[in-house]
Amino acid sequence: MATLTDSLVKFAGAHGASGYEDTVRALIIREFQKLTDTVDITPLGSVIGVKRAGGTRARRPSRRASATNAPRLLVEAHMDEIGLVVTEIRDGFIRFEEIGYWDPRVLPSQNVWVHGRKTLPGVIGSRPPHVLTAKERKHALTLDDLFIDVGMTDARARELVSPGDMITLDRAVIPLQNEMCAGKAFDNRASVVALLEFLKQLQNSAPAWDIYAVANVNEEDSPFYVGAQTAAYAIQPQLALCLDVTHAQQAGLNDEALPQTGQGPCIARGANIHPVVFEKLRQTAQRHALSHQITVYGGNTETNAWMMQTTGNGIPTGLVEIPLRYMHSAVETLALSDIQGAAQLLSAFAMNLNAADARALQGETFTRKAARQKRGARKNAARRTQRQR
């Protein structure tokens, strides 16, 4: 678990909000180069690492044509985190807008990094309780009430910070009891870590399918899930798996229908998920005695799976989620065993894929000619048996 913790510290500690993923992309490219055969970048900045079927380190093929003609498995995790963006500097204080979806109530008094000409430490300020009226203290703060103090004069701040600069949380990973930890950006760096662990577990094996590992841009700030949609369009896989996080039982949300941290990754089912893919994931977990939970979604899973499924001519899609408490805050909390569990489930799944699975995913087909030939063949067989009598 130690290396997993190091990996989580490294990736959760990287700073890359939706549309500003450069640093995270660079880290991932380095990892993919060690773990896959070829590494490509899509026009929008998603990273695709391909591990050829049969473990052969084949020559570099184009993104779409498989050198081995094997079926393609796409496994993806979005690499962006939610963040903030500078809108203006007023009297030396920085005003901001959200990138992605924040509850403003988790922002006051948080430490941040302002990524301007220099990376500046700052704090999200608010007025001290001593000067607030009772009435004011009952009113939840909105983004417009908040500002960032970088401890500089207006002139100095303007030299180093401009509208459009990215702001991210400054939070190191905190170890908690029972191999749990808390930090920022576990949504979705925990899945990035699981994706890399999945690739490591495949290093000495030879899956029958081509594996396309994808670190996608902009899941958090795009109603179109544009990073995943366009990467899936380029790859046109036979099967796509999405790795994300989901809400777990937590303080203030004790619903027994929700999954729990530490009980294994969640396998999703519902309209967004291909029934054959769901069954195979579940059977894999059961056969390998892997702890897992089931999540049920009537419609939009609110992950990259939603748009990957309806990309191009349609893609059979599955979703594996790591249970997470306090999503979209500086204290997102999870169990490390769930990251390990997700990686193990995916590698067992990928190792078990064969040609028959590719056929099972193709739907039923019918042609009048073939049906006629079948009927003709049956008639001939019947006549032959009759003649033999």
């Binding site: 309209a271 419609g299 499924q309």
Partner: protein
Amino acid sequence: MLLEKLSNARGVSGDESAVRALIAAHLQKHVDEYRVDALGNILAVKRASKRGARAPFRILVAAHMDEVGFLITHIDRDGLLRFEKIGGIDDRILPAQTVLIGAQAVPGVIGLKPRHLSTESERKQVVAADALRIDLGASGRADAQRVITPGAYATFATQFSTFGDNCARGKALDDRAGCALLCELVRENFPFDLYAVFTTQEEIGLRGARVAGHAVAPNAALVLEATICDDASIRSRARAAQSFPPRAQAPITQLGAGPALTLADRRLLAHKGLTRAIAETARAEKIPFQYKQPLVGSTDAGILHRVRGGVPSAVLSVPARYIHSPAAVISLDDFQNALKLARAALPKFADALDA
């Protein structure tokens, strides 16, 4: 009657397999080929009866197989089932409904605390769906788990019947009426390639249509739907005819006034040339029709017209009272006229686009 079988078949958005099997069996007698794609759509083709030197015109005609219903999300300790609504369903029609769950059609009821035991103020409140439960008569969670798993779908338990003046009532007429029309259309021979597409997941976001349109890449598209008919909620015909009716009293469509032609809805500004061609065909063939009130509702055409480089699209609907409820009502005259009109208008599409 195929319409009856289709109305009774059970397929909520997310699991349309039973409806698909019924339609596939019918298609095998009439089409050249079909395949089922990753979303569960049936993409069937019946090629043009006469094939000339040029590539034939391709028309995609679509109807969606899915119906609104419920998804069982969790089994409570006491054996009652928690559920999520699939598709737009008004919470107020739920109390005292009967449902059938899963492939085995296990019966259940949505119960509401009786009047004797509720307070005056409670009776004024709408109970939200997440506060309701489906009761199987199970003694507890383990007992319910014998017959049901979370992830199973439930439908209204309505059985189709004809009644009144050539009317029909049943569940899921949105859009099994459209599916029935399309099943009839594939019996014909046309001078163009007919792509009969039975889509999935329309009710939760026009999802099947998106990939079907991309795969088929047609020259034009026609969507066959059942649409809102609210003429019964207008207090009286006299009131509707008076001056200054508020918009809420202007009917979206009227039962018995013929199939409804879409000018625009919330997601589509219908192709003017195709829509005009359908209207002109109706007048020439003396088939009654009406215009659906603009900018209401949405259909698969809302996404079909935007796929690839854009697809000129039109929508023709059977007016249906009480859609998205356990029992919708249609006029079988409207249904027959919709079939006549689609059959006569489709061959005019190619010329309508050249104009």
